[in-house]
């Protein structure tokens, strides 16, 4: 893992990482990278606490989780509706209990609520898995310092500009700047 040969990306780009002790330097570094011609989609930030896009001046992240939650809620609602309005029609002879209607009013509300919520929460959970590609046990670019509160900025640059960027990052307070290693987490 310690061998320091630059990994050349298929596109000829090198993948680098800079580790910062705090938010301020990391935000400055991101501005600097942009000034040096690295676009936002060539960068990625890894942190041990949730860091909002606004703090680092990054474009906002797209997430499907709320949409998936809504979709799950709709599916759940139809599941509940089937249980209440569909199932009594499956029997050759409807089953009557007491003098309650075969398709009862208030219990419908209860069942629809529970199954809607179940659908919504299950799909929210599933949404995190889908959007984040969990579970993912392949080797990935990572530095363990992030779970100690450091902020790691990953970016891709051309091999020629590597020197220059490394120097700029160090000047902004990077604790280390190195070639991002793909490792088994």
């Amino acid at each position: 893992m310690t061998d320091n040969i630059s990994r050349i990306e298929p596109s000829g780009q090198v993948s680098l990482l800079a580790v910062f002790p705090d938010l301020g330097p990391a935000a400055d570094a991101i501005d600097k990278l942009r000034a040096l011609g690295i676009s936002d989609d060539q960068m990625n930030v890894i942190s041990g606490v949730p860091v909002t896009e606004a703090m680092l001046g990054r474009p906002s992240q797209w997430t499907n989780v709320p949409r998936l939650a809504g979709g799950g809620a709709v599916l759940g609602f139809f599941g509940g509706a089937f249980l209440m309005y569909g199932v009594p029609y499956l029997y050759p002879y409807p089953i009557q209990v007491s003098s309650q209607a075969v398709i009862p009013g208030p219990p419908t509300v209860v069942i629809l609520f529970e199954i809607t919520m179940l659908g919504m929460l299950l799909s929210t959970f599933l949404g995190v898995f889908l959007d984040s590609y969990f579970p993912n046990y392949r080797p990935m670019e990572y530095v363990k310092e992030v779970s100690e509160g450091k902020i790691a900025v990953f970016f891709k640059c051309s091999p020629e500009s590597k020197e220059k960027i490394t120097k700029a990052m160090t000047a902004l307070g990077a604790e280390k700047v190195e070639v991002a290693e793909v490792e088994q987490l």
């Binding site: 009594p88 029609y89 050759p92 002879y93 409807p94 089953i95 009557q96 209990v97 007491s98 003098s99 309650q100 209607a101 075969v102 398709i103």
Partner: protein, 241 residues
């Protein structure tokens, strides 16, 4: 196929089978209790469990007294059995559809092999007439030789209750059908009514104004127990007539 919206709610109907019990002539001899146990293959619970409130009789004779000892006065015996409510509180609470309202017979039926034993129905029965199979009770000799082949034997964990001897109703209906006629009033009766030496129990069609049970039920001093709960019971009691 019948669609759910075609179901007529029983609350609009007067019931089909009914019973009249005259408490004034009941002697409390318990013949009905014995006859019911024989007819319906009711488990033999034994002394210990019966004493702890686990007797399984589908009909029981309730005895009360008024006043403090020694000045006590007995009140008429009160045979209590499933009232076959038209709007039964036990039915909707079963999560497994083990107790439902029979459209054909307008009875409250218990489906033994569907019961999972939540015992909610028994809690919700204001008459407390449901019995639960707390164990697999052993029948002492010679009781194992007299099972009624028309009635299911129940195992532990199942709720059961009076069926108005539905096996007898079906037998009479089948016989009448094969002879291309209606079931006649008094052609058959339940085991308890049959065994009653005082004829305190009368069973029949309450929707037929000509039947004996209808005519008795319309005598003005008949009461239905806990009628105020809206359960539409089908058993009428006479007391102090």
């Amino acid at each position: 196929m019948i669609r759910p919206e075609e179901i007529k709610l029983s609350a609009d109907q007067s019931g089909k089978w009914g019973m009249v019990i005259d408490q004034d002539i009941c002697t409390g001899c318990q013949a009905c209790v014995a006859a019911c146990a024989m007819e319906n293959n009711i488990s033999f619970v034994g002394e210990a469990d019966s004493g702890y409130g686990r007797s399984m009789h589908w009909i029981r004779i309730e005895r009360f007294w008024e006043g403090e000892y020694p000045e006590i006065k007995m009140t008429p015996n009160q045979p209590m059995l499933c009232q076959q409510c038209g709007s039964a509180t036990c039915e909707p609470v079963c999560p497994a559809f083990a107790t439902v309202h029979s459209q054909a017979e307008q009875l409250n039926v218990q489906v033994y092999n569907r019961c999972v034993g939540t015992r909610y129905c028994a809690n919700n029965c204001p008459y407390q007439v449901r019995s639960f199979n707390w164990r697999d009770y052993k029948r002492p000799e010679p009781l194992p030789n007299q099972f009624n082949p028309d009635v299911t034997v129940r195992r532990r964990g199942i709720m059961e209750k009076c069926t108005f001897c539905i096996q007898r109703i079906h037998k009479a209906q089948d016989k009448a059908k094969s002879e291309a006629r209606e079931v006649l009033d008094g052609e058959f009766t339940t085991a308890c009514a049959q065994a009653c030496p005082a004829d305190a129990i009368v069973f029949g069609r309450v929707d037929d104004p000509e039947s004996l049970v209808s005519q008795l039920a319309h005598r003005n001093h008949g009461v239905k127990h806990l009628e105020e709960l809206g359960t539409l019971p089908n058993v009428t009691y006479f007391k102090g007539g």
